[in-house]
């Protein structure tokens, strides 16, 4: 039966996806910062069918501790056949441009720590064993935009990183799913006014991730309409793009 390791298990998107895996009877290792939240998620997953759900507290963004934490996680939960990287921080672009510590936190959390976790977990992965790695990116990473380039660059960097990993592991039993959500109604976006057809629920995103993971798709935009939207945005020549207020 599937052993799923979730980094950032209290994230709304992670939880929505995990619920679907729980219904399939998976075993879970849930890692995050807040013990009480992790316990609540674990109880929910067990009620929904997870064969087991264990928790471990860790500050996923603490870069210096990643190598040790990864060993710890493997010791506690064993070798997973699925890893989900679902933690992140949005920050506020305007503030981060002036407050370098905030900017650094956004970059380190969303990119550097995630990249290092991937390396740490892949390092000790038994050769030849099947593994699916689901990484939550963002459409924000598809192009550098004035309104959100700090978070966007971190997610864009992660996109490149995962792409490289996918090429490296292309002919092995390790495969990667890079998920690119657009606007999702979660605690991360609580401060942003919502409304309009572009906003998705975590449940919808969880469902799209589930489908993509089952089919082995490498990059999935969720909901689907972000793929054509971002294709256009990426394709816009500079003289047009520089004029847009996005």
């Amino acid at each position: 039966m599937s052993r799923v390791l979730v980094l950032g298990a209290a994230s709304a998107i992670a939880e929505a996806y995990a619920r679907r895996r729980a219904a399939e009877g998976a075993h879970f290792g849930l890692v995050g910062r807040r013990e009480d939240r992790l316990a609540a998620v674990a109880a929910d997953l067990r009620a929904r069918g997870a064969k087991s759900a264990e928790t471990a507290v860790a500050d996923l963004a603490a870069i210096d501790g990643i190598e040790a934490a990864a060993l710890n996680v493997r010791a506690r939960f064993g070798d997973p056949d699925e890893i989900v990287i679902a933690y992140g921080t949005l920050g506020t672009q305007g503030e981060a441009e002036r407050d370098l510590a905030l900017a650094r936190r956004i970059l380190d959390t969303n990119f550097t720590s995630a990249a290092l976790w991937l390396l740490a977990l892949l390092k000790d992965h038994p050769a030849g064993a099947p593994l699916t790695v689901v990484v939550i990116g963002s459409v924000a990473g598809d192009r550098g935009r004035a309104s959100n380039f700090i978070y966007g660059a971190a997610k864009g960097g992660l996109d490149r990183f995962v792409e490289g990993l996918a090429q490296k592991y292309a002919h092995t039993a390790v495969r990667f799913v890079l998920v690119k959500p657009g606007f999702v109604d979660t605690p991360m976006t609580a401060a942003i006014a919502k409304g309009g057809p572009l906003w998705a629920t975590p449940d919808r995103v969880g469902r799209d991730i589930h489908r993509a993971a089952m089919r082995g798709r490498r990059v999935v935009y969720t909901p689907w309409f972000w793929r054509p939207i971002m294709a256009i945005i990426r394709a816009l020549p500079w003289f047009i793009f520089k004029r847009l207020k996005i």
């Binding site: 709304a12 219904a23 609540a40 998620v41 109880a43 929910d44 067990r46 009620a47 929904r48 069918g49 605690p187």
Partner: protein, 409 residues
């Protein structure tokens, strides 16, 4: 909750907003949205007892419980309501005569108040607050979680029987004969007059003993836009009624999935859009047994005279299982529920007339469905309302409560 209180301005608690009127609305105010609080906290699949966060819907609940052989003991006519909202409205289902309202099956619940306290309420603990919270329209605080005793089922299918009834007398007759069917309901042609008043279809069902425990699918059909309101008028509704009554495929005994038996309307997401931008009003009342036939006749006469049609006219008997909730709607007698396309003054006038008839007969209206109940009608129908007002959390207020308690608190 303390932080919310500090910001000033009252709040109303909002589940999925499926109540038809204003019980969970707060004009120009703020709402506490409960949809994120949707986890299972504990589940005992041997005993069929689950503890869930109040924002979980029946839809999500049954997706998990049905494959394990458990079903909600009482379910309203739509799956897309939260457990918290269902307890706050003390919902009833087609099986009121045998199981009463949902509040009877709540073993415990957790309530947060702006004082900072979180209470565990049950029929044994904090009993006054429990009684005020069941059917309490979200006014006593935020229901955080609900523990429910579920009903064991062997199959996701129902044995159902549907047959024609020629008029209101026939309804009462058949209803008597259906005592050993746990689920009963009638649909009535509200445009039928005279001898045919109350003609329609009677439906009764029970959980099947055999069959798979398959879960329902998500709705595939949705009304994408509001249709012009004029589309629903006495002629189209009359036509619909004529066809619906005669559906040959619906009559007789059949095995149907719980989804079509309990939640037929859910098949079309956003069905309310059929009523167009002006929307609709619903009247749902209950009148006591002793007056039931006479009053129901009068209500149907009013509707037929008025000429305003309604597709969804439900007639059902309520039993005498008491609810623990102070503001619980059902009483032993008969309930009638109808929708009316909103035609402005004439619709409001009809609703007021119907309200008068109900109140004169010693009945009452259902807050969960109401948008026009007068303060007098409310207070007459729920004479113990002040007990709930006494337990209301000071930072919580809804448009409904403001409307029906104005000048009195």
């Amino acid at each position: 909750m303390n932080e919310l209180a500090a910001d000033g301005g009252p709040l109303a608690v909002y589940g999925r907003g499926r109540s038809y009127g204003d019980v969970c609305l707060n004009d120009d105010g703020r709402l506490i949205l409960m949809d994120g609080l949707d986890r299972f906290i504990e589940a005992d699949w041997e005993r069929g007892r689950v503890r869930v966060e109040a924002g979980l819907t029946f839809d999500e609940l049954i997706k998990v419980t049905v494959p394990r052989g458990w079903f909600p003991p009482v379910t309203p006519g739509t799956k897309f309501v939260t457990l918290g909202g269902a307890v706050a409205n003390d919902v009833h289902g087609k099986n009121h005569e045998s199981e009463g309202t949902l509040g009877r099956h709540v073993t415990r619940m957790g309530l947060a108040r702006s004082s900072g306290d979180v209470f565990v309420l049950s029929p044994e603990e904090n009993v006054d607050l429990f009684a005020a919270t069941v059917g309490g329209l979200g006014l006593t605080g935020v229901i955080l979680w609900v523990e429910l005793q579920l009903l064991p089922i062997r199959s996701a299918f129902m044995e159902a029987e549907t047959f024609a009834i020629s008029n209101l007398e026939a309804f009462f007759g058949v209803d008597e004969e259906s005592r050993d069917w746990p689920y009963t309901v009638a649909w009535v042609d509200c445009l039928a007059k005279g001898r045919r008043l109350g003609r329609g279809l009677f439906s009764r069902g029970r959980h099947a003993e055999t069959g798979a425990l398959t879960v329902h699918d998500d709705p595939k059909v949705s009304m994408p836009i509001d249709v012009p309101g004029a589309l629903l008028n006495v002629h189209t509704i009359g036509l619909f009624n004529g066809i619906y009554r005669r559906r040959p495929w619906a009559l007789g005994r059949k095995t149907v999935h719980y989804d079509s038996f309990f939640y037929p309307l859910d098949a079309i997401a956003s069905w309310n859009r059929l009523y167009g931008r002006r929307g609709f009003f619903q009247h749902q009342s209950v009148v006591p047994t002793k007056n039931a036939e006479v009053t129901t006749r009068r209500l149907l006469e009013l509707t037929a005279e008025h000429g305003e049609g309604s597709f969804l006219v439900v007639l059902k008997r309520f039993g005498d299982r008491p609810s623990p909730g102070i503001l619980s709607f059902p009483m032993p007698g008969v309930t009638l529920a109808l929708d009316f396309p909103n035609r402005g003054q004439s619709t409001e006038h009809l609703l007021a007339q119907m309200s008068d008839v109900v109140m004169a007969a010693g009945g009452r209206l259902y807050p969960a469905k109401d948008a026009t109940m007068s303060a007098e009608a409310f207070r007459a129908g729920y004479p113990r309302w002040r007990e709930v007002e006494a337990k209301r959390d000071p930072i919580i207020m809804s448009d409904f409560w403001r409307r029906v308690t104005k000048d009195a608190i």
